[in-house]
Symmetry: C2
Subunit: 234 residues, 2 copies
DNA sequence: CGCCGGATTGATCAGTTTCAAGGCATGTGG
DNA sequence: CCACATGCCTTGAAACTGATCAATCCGGCG
């Protein structure tokens, strides 16, 4: 299971520091706000590609923020069918469960570094600091909003609409210099969109054929016509 | 739009009272807890079948609890395809959005009575009362948990697995004396499960044929074998 | 009694999955 | 430096699940 880069089993601690306060966008950095509160210690840790961060049902001891890399969170059916609920990219917080156990499994998609804080210390801070309590709520509410949008996609959109939505989401979240470098494979995309990897591949080829996007490589994509994608998105 | 039973447009007020504290199950009645806090006034109001409670995008002025009846919350695509995110039954809280606007539309499925409180007063209470702040968080977290389970259903379950899951959920939530009286039509069920109404009907007929359930009428169902349903549920 | 919305059932259709083969890039060992 | 193994992606053909179109059926109500 946990073949960590650093062999610290229970409390994985590398560099310990108090909230380095990333200079990122203000709306995004709720984690910075809460991490900078009294007594909350943030730790950095790394996972290798495909390594599990935590499993569904495990006690939720930590809350995480992606520093570098990417994480998928998913649920499984007993025969192995998988539904990825979200991809977590640099800056994103994940693993914040109000209950005592994690509801999904989290795995590194690529080599990944995270910042983490103890959930207990967050809850303690929330008990005395209204700002922190409010942040916990709005962060969970953001996840809920994403889930609500995603239910619409999974239940009612066609394959091409799903892929168009996915591309626009990734473009918004990780495009640099007009290009996006997808960290995940076709199977991950399929399991996120409720499709097979073959359907994802075919649909991307189709969009490429229509000149809506261009591949530098299979995972390096340039969008050529966001408007037509947005139109397909329904 | 709002053809209310009582003609109070902006602030629909009937009987005004301070938190009657329902004697329901403790875990369920978060609303009772928050409504009983200083300054939070609860109001009762009724909606007729198919009447809109609030629309997607509208400012979220109130938070609601179903007293009697049932409510569906949903999102639409521009061509009318609909995804129902949840059914809200007596005791359930809905309309609690952390942002300033509602993310889904809410409509009464049948004639429905709700209790409501001003969102502003809740937020105010949360600012001074840690218990209330915590309740807001856990209520949103409960919605998120449901959404995560439902994404798995929408993205990865087959028609029969979806219907089985639905029946078990409704059995758990509204079965009285071993029978459940569904408040919603086949189309609502389909739009909740990401299926057509015909597929829902066929699947229910199939389960009936297998003796797993019995119809008193189209919406009055008795489960005869929960175990076999749970097995199908995947 | 006859109307009407909701539900059922049948026949056909289409989109997506499944099964299968092959390509391309990367990395490793001879 | 090349040969080969491996993982990921693409593409094709066939099969299947659920959707669509259409025709009753049923129950409640004016």
């Amino acid at each position: 299971m946990l073949t960590q880069t650093i062999t610290t089993p229970a409390v994985p601690a590398t560099k310990v520091f108090t909230a380095p306060r990333t200079p990122a966008a203000p709306a995004i950095d709720q984690f910075g706000v809460i991490a900078s509160c009294a007594g909350v210690i943030a730790t950095e840790f790394s996972y290798r590609k495909d390594e599990e961060v935590y499993g569904e049902g495990e006690p939720s001891e930590y809350v995480y923020q992606v520093i570098r890399g990417a994480v998928r969170t998913y649920k499984l059916l007993n025969d192995g069918r998988r539904q990825i609920g979200a991809f977590h990219l640099p800056g994103d917080v994940f693993g914040l469960d109000a209950g005592s156990t994690h509801r999904l499994t989290a795995e590194a998609i690529a080599d990944t570094t995270v910042r983490l804080v103890k959930r207990r210390s967050l809850e303690a801070a929330a008990g005395s600091n209204v700002q922190v309590a409010h942040s916990l709520w709005t962060m969970t509410a953001r996840d809920l909003r994403h889930a609500e949008d995603h239910m619409l996609l999974l239940g009612r959109k066609t394959a091409i609409e799903k892929v168009a939505t996915f591309l626009l989401e990734m473009d918004r979240r990780l495009a640099k210099a007009g290009m996006m470098a997808l960290p995940m494979c076709r199977r991950d995309i399929g399991d996120y969109l409720g499709l097979t990897l073959e359907t994802v591949s075919r649909t991307l080829s189709q969009l490429s054929g229509q000149g809506i996007l261009v591949f530098s490589s299979a995972r390096q994509i340039v969008l050529r016509n966001r408007q037509r994608l947005a139109d397909m998105d329904a």
